[in-house]
């Protein structure tokens, strides 16, 4: 589905990513992990076409991509759930969902029942403004909004950040269901270790813009991965 190699990225004078390789396959969740400020979000921004890369190759559906724009990526089938959710605050929930119609042919522009089945709260709140929703509701809306575009690759940036546990569990079930459908590749940026370990099929750990650990779940041990992540924070214990 997606295969990117040797990605580099600069913001102004500083280099954020140093030669990252990442792949995503249908029916699998690839987790990108690491502490704050290591470049996870930048990597996702790059893949979503929101920031130009300074080097590296990206292949999507077997096609090499040169310059990416966010709207071209969206139309090609990349759904994006940003960190902080980026709900359109003055649009209603329904309108927020409808923004994704831009990716669909006119005849298919409707909100499927599936969406409301997965996130019943959105059906209840359909006519409320996005900005009035709680954080957890906004997160569900952000995921639903990305699903409206019928993506084949879904990019999720810290969907559990600042969300209460029961909603996290629900989000986890939705992601698992999407994965199990088998036709969608998912890249999940996550700091919540248990959540990521549960869902992930492959892992990539970043530190200061470099991959320090990478591989499928079968090749990794939970303890090693956890130690690698928490190592810096808890080494003194």
């Amino acid at each position: 589905m997606l295969n990117a190699t040797n990605l580099t990225l600069h913001y102004g004078g500083s280099q954020i990513l140093h030669g990252i390789d990442i792949a995503a396959h249908p029916g699998q969740v690839t987790c990108v992990m690491g502490n704050n400020g290591v470049g996870k979000t930048s990597l996702l921004n790059l893949l979503a076409g929101r920031h130009p890369r300074s080097g590296g190759e990206i292949e999507f559906d077997g096609r090499k991509l040169d310059r990416l724009t966010a709207q071209a990526m969206a139309r090609m089938g990349v759904g994006y759930v940003p960190q902080g959710r980026a709900i359109f605050p003055m649009l209603t929930v329904r309108e927020n969902l409808e923004t994704g119609f831009a990716c669909l042919p006119r005849s298919e522009r409707r909100i499927s029942d599936e969406i409301f089945d997965s996130f019943p709260v959105l059906a209840e709140m359909a006519d409320r403004r996005g900005g009035d929703l709680s954080g957890g509701q906004q997160q569900q809306l952000a995921i639903a909004r990305a699903l409206i575009t019928r993506p084949r690759l879904l990019l999720l940036d810290e969907p559990t950040e600042g969300i209460q546990p029961n909603i996290i569990a629900q989000i986890g079930r939705v992601i698992a269901a999407l994965r199990d459908r088998g036709d969608m590749a998912i890249i999940l940026v996550e700091q919540f270790f248990d959540f990521a370990w549960e869902l992930g099929d492959g892992f990539l750990v970043l530190e200061r813009g470099r991959a320090i650990m990478q591989g499928p779940k079968s090749d990794l041990r939970r303890e090693d991965l956890h130690a690698r992540l928490a190592g810096h924070a808890t080494a003194a214990e």
């Binding site: 400020g37 950040e161 003194a236």
Partner: protein, 246 residues
Amino acid sequence: MSALLEVSGVSVSFDGFRAINNLSFNIGAAELRAVIGPNGAGKTTFMDIVTGKTRPDEGDVRWGEYSRSLLKMNEAQIARAGIGRKFQRPTVFEDQSVADNMTMALRANRNPFSVLGWRPSPSSDQRVAELAAEVGLAGQVNRKAGELSHGQKQWLEIGMLLAQEPRLLLVDEPAAGMTLAEREQTTTLLRRLAETRAVVVVEHDMDFVRRLNCKVTVLHQGSVLAEGSLDHVTRNPQVIEVYLGR
């Protein structure tokens, strides 16, 4: 020891979202403090309130020996009172030389007419040279700030802060975008600075905070979640829950 800065019961909301929620925070006259917390914990808003950029909805912020309220002062007055702020992204005046940038920051009367009458003197030139040397820009004083590397700009900004001779330094993510060597230099400098004044560092790179080796305040959802040594707070189960590993 009485506190240099005393933040008590401060709250502020944007669009019904509570960015800061009943926050209280003290810092002494010569102290190094790290403030950590996940995104959206209110770290930047906290700095905005102390420096006068954002007015809190309730609470009080008091400063100095006479406990003056900072809430009645504007940004410039607060800066003149002795609070310096380093921004996350280096903001130096790219169009002007390193020396000009530093000269502007030098402690001197700030009113327009005094500035008009200000003339460079041997002592001001020397002060600029000293500061440039201190932040590793000795050979660069006549270069335009815009030509400096990202790390050098961060250094220049720190130099400008030093030129202001503040009693409290607020530093927002100094390590972002720095190389390993630059980080080490920065930690050393911050620790040295904290010997004579208060320094508050907002950072979420744990490694960096560890090297600062100081008291840590953990913010979460706009209030203080834990405070103490790094080891102490990293053992706090709530801190682990919201920030560290989960």
